[in-house]
C-alpha cells in the first residue's frame, strides 16, 4: 500500500472498486470471526443474486432446476456490525498534500471496507450517519444487496452541519440491542460531544466499540500554509491565521486535546485508533480492526 492507493480514493467515485482494491491487499481473515461455525443450520433457498459466494450455491438444485439457488443458513452470525459515520462539516477537512482527498472520503472508504468484510462473514451490518444535526439510519441486514445499499448511502453522504445533540442521539441508541460491534469514524475534534457520550454509553452496554480518529498530515505536523486566512467550518468565530509563531501553541493545544481524549477512551475501555488520511488505507484498516491486546 502506498500513497497511490490514497490518491485512488480521492479520484475514484466508485466506492466498491476502491474497497475491493483495499481488501485485496489485505487478504482474508482480518476479522477474527468469533462466530465461525454458526449458520450451518439450513433455513431456506433463495434466488442467487450477483455478489453471492459461489460456494453457497446449491449445485444439485441448480442441475435440477436450471437456475441458481443459494442455501440460506438460519443465522450466519448473531453479531451485528454498526458503522457510525461522523458527517459534520469539519469532516470536509481536505488533505493539504493530496488533492481531492478529505476526511469524509477516507472514512467512507474505511467504513465501506468494514461493511464488505461483515458481508463476507455473513454478519448483519447497519449504518448510522451523523450530520446536519440529525441521525440517518440504515438498518442492520445481511447480504450483498444490503452492502450495495449501505455503500450508496455512504456515497451520498455530504459533510455539513453539526453533530446531532445529545438528546437526539440518545433517543436513537435503541438500535444496539443484541451484542454488536460498533465502528465509529470521526475526526474527534469535539470531545466530549454527543458522539462521545453515546459511544461511552454503548461501551457501557457491553458492545464492542472501536473508534477511528482521522487526522491530516498537516494537522499532525502543524504545517499549514501561512498565506491563507482560515475559518472554522463549524463555528462562526471569525478568521484565524497560521504562522511559525503560532505553530508551537497549535501543537500544544492539539496534543492536550488528544491526550485528554485518549485518556478518557482508555478509562472507558474504548480502543482508539488515530490515523492520518494520507496513510495507506489497508494499514489503517488493519490497525483499526485488530483486537485490542493482540
Amino acid at each position: 500500500m502506498s500513497l497511490a492507493n490514497t490518491a485512488l480514493i480521492a479520484h475514484t467515485r466508485k466506492l466498491d472498486l476502491v474497497i475491493r482494491h483495499v481488501l485485496a491487499g489485505l487478504g482474508h481473515g482480518i476479522h477474527a470471526g468469533r462466530e465461525r461455525g454458526a449458520g450451518v443450520e439450513f433455513s431456506e433457498y433463495r434466488a442467487y443474486v450477483p455478489g453471492d459466494e459461489w460456494r453457497r450455491v446449491d449445485w444439485k438444485l441448480a442441475a435440477r432446476a436450471d437456475r441458481y439457488f443459494v442455501r440460506e443458513a438460519e443465522r450466519d452470525s448473531h453479531v451485528a456490525v454498526w458503522l457510525i459515520l461522523d458527517a459534520s462539516a469539519s469532516m470536509a477537512e481536505p488533505s493539504r498534500s493530496v488533492d481531492g482527498l478529505d476526511k469524509l472520503a477516507y472514512a467512507r472508504m474505511l467504513l465501506g471496507c468494514v461493511a464488505a468484510i461483515a458481508q463476507r462473514q455473513g454478519d448483519a451490518f447497519g449504518l448510522v450517519v451523523l450530520g446536519s444535526g440529525k441521525v440517518t439510519f440504515t438498518p442492520a441486514l445481511r447480504g450483498p444487496r444490503h452492502l450495495q445499499r449501505v455503500l450508496s448511502q455512504l456515497q451520498r453522504t455530504e459533510a455539513e452541519g453539526d453533530l446531532p445533540d445529545t438528546e437526539t442521539l440518545k433517543a436513537s441508541l435503541h438500535f444496539a440491542q443484541s451484542p454488536s460491534a460498533i465502528y465509529a469514524a470521526s475526526d474527534l475534534l469535539d470531545w466530549p460531544s454527543p458522539l462521545s457520550i453515546a459511544l461511552t454509553r454503548l461501551r457501557q452496554m457491553r458492545h464492542d466499540v472501536r473508534v477511528l480518529g482521522l487526522q491530516t498530515q498537516a494537522e499532525v505536523d502543524a504545517s499549514f500554509s501561512s498565506d491563507l486566512a482560515y475559518r472554522d467550518p463549524e463555528r462562526e468565530e471569525g478568521v484565524f491565521r497560521f504562522g511559525a509563531d503560532l505553530k508551537e501553541g497549535y501543537r500544544r493545544n492539539r496534543e492536550q486535546h488528544f491526550g485528554a481524549l485518549t485518556a478518557q477512551c482508555r478509562k472507558n475501555d474504548i480502543p482508539l485508533t488515530l490515523a492520518a488520511i494520507e496513510q495507506a488505507p489497508g494499514e489503517v484498516l488493519r490497525r483499526w480492526l485488530r483486537r485490542p491486546g493482540r
Partner: protein
C-alpha cells in the same frame, strides 16, 4: 478644428470607471482544527475588481474609434512622389525625376489645373521626410501657393492645343465680321459656319427681325436691340449692354461691328476671358519651402470609411456581449 475632438479622449475613463468596482474581499479557507489556534483580527484587503474585461475593451475601443471618426485623422502613407500633369512630355518628366533623384518614386498623373490644389489638399498624407516634385505644364495660380511641406515645381510649357470655335454670322455686313474674326491669333481657330448647329458657341445677330425660337447659343452679339425684347432691361458696362435670355447671353453695342483694331481686339479678349476661359500661363520652375503659416488643409476624410466600418462592427460586438452578459 477636427483635431480638437482628440480632447474628448478622457471620455474613455467612463467605461473604465464603470467596470472597476472596489470590493472588500475576505477569503478564508476552511480548517477543521482552527479551534487550536488563537483568534486573529481579520485582515481585509480592498481590491480593485475588473468585471468583464472583454466588454470593457470593446467599449473603450468603440469610444476611441468614434472620437477618431469625428477627428478625421490623416495617416501619412505616401512616400516620395512625382506629380506629373497630363500632357507633359514623358521623356522630359523621366529625365527631371531622375535628376531630382526620384526616378523610383511613386507617380501621380493629374490634370494640370488641379495639380497644385491636389498637392495642397493632400499634403498631410506624405510622410515627414518624403520628397514631392511636381512636373509638367503647371498653370500659374492667381495667388502665391503656400504649402506646409517642401514642394518643388519644375515646369515645361507644353505646345498649346489647337481649339476650334464655331461662329455663325447673320448679317448683311458679314464680310466685316469675318475680317474681325480672321484677325484672331493664338491657338484658337475661329470657324464661321454657314448654318448654326450645336457646336456653335457665338451667334452674331446683325438683323432687325427676331431670330427663330430654335436658335440657341451661349453668346449672342446683337447690333439691333429691337430684335430682343430682353435687352430693354439690360445693364450697361463701358458702353456695352448685356442681358440673359432663353436663347443665351446677349451682348449689345451700338458701334458694332468694331471699326478699329483695338476695339476688335478688346471685344475678342472679352469673349475669351468671360465666355471661354483665360489662356493658361505656365508658371516658372521654383521650389516652395515649408511654410509655417500655411493654412492646414481640411482633412479629406480618407480614413472615415474604414473607421465607420470598424465603428459599426464594434457596436454590434458590444451589443452582443452586453446581451450575453445579461443572460
Amino acid at each position: 478644428m477636427n483635431a480638437l475632438w482628440w480632447l474628448a479622449l478622457p471620455i474613455l475613463l467612463l467605461p473604465v470607471w464603470w467596470h472597476r468596482r472596489k470590493r472588500v474581499q475576505n477569503k478564508a479557507a476552511p480548517m477543521a482544527t482552527a479551534r487550536f489556534l488563537p483568534r486573529t483580527e481579520p485582515r481585509q484587503t480592498r481590491v480593485w475588481l475588473w468585471r468583464d474585461p472583454l466588454l470593457l475593451l470593446v467599449r473603450c475601443l468603440l469610444l476611441a474609434v468614434l472620437i477618431g471618426w469625428l477627428a478625421d485623422p490623416v495617416y501619412p502613407f505616401r512616400g516620395d512622389t512625382v506629380v506629373v500633369t497630363e500632357g507633359a512630355d514623358p521623356a522630359w518628366a523621366l529625365r527631371e525625376a531622375a535628376q531630382a533623384g526620384l526616378a523610383n518614386a511613386e507617380r501621380v498623373t493629374l490634370p494640370a489645373e488641379q495639380a497644385l490644389g491636389w498637392v495642397h489638399t493632400h499634403e498631410r498624407e506624405w510622410q515627414r521626410d518624403a520628397r514631392l516634385l511636381v512636373l509638367g505644364d503647371v498653370p500659374m495660380p492667381a495667388a502665391q501657393p503656400a504649402f506646409g511641406r517642401p514642394v518643388e515645381v519644375r515646369t515645361q510649357a507644353a505646345a498649346p492645343v489647337k481649339v476650334e470655335r464655331h461662329v455663325y454670322i447673320a448679317s448683311e455686313r458679314a464680310a466685316e465680321w469675318r475680317r474681325m474674326f480672321a484677325a484672331q491669333v493664338g491657338p484658337e481657330k475661329i470657324i464661321v459656319d454657314d448654318t448654326p448647329d450645336a457646336a456653335t458657341t457665338l451667334i452674331v445677330w446683325d438683323r432687325a427681325e427676331t431670330p427663330p425660337a430654335s436658335l440657341r447659343a451661349s453668346l449672342w452679339w446683337v447690333t439691333q436691340p429691337s430684335a430682343f425684347p430682353e435687352l430693354a432691361k439690360a445693364r450697361t458696362l463701358s458702353g456695352m449692354r448685356y442681358a440673359d435670355s432663353a436663347r443665351g447671353r446677349l451682348w449689345h453695342h451700338a458701334d458694332w461691328p468694331p471699326r478699329d483694331p483695338e476695339a476688335a481686339r478688346a471685344l475678342l479678349d472679352d469673349w475669351q476671358q468671360l465666355h471661354i476661359k483665360p489662356r493658361p500661363y505656365t508658371m516658372s520652375s521654383q521650389a516652395f519651402a515649408a511654410d509655417k503659416d500655411a493654412n492646414a488643409p481640411a482633412p479629406g476624410g480618407a480614413l472615415r470609411g474604414i473607421l465607420l466600418a470598424i465603428l459599426a462592427a464594434l457596436f454590434v460586438l458590444e451589443r452582443t456581449l452586453t446581451h450575453a452578459r445579461r443572460r
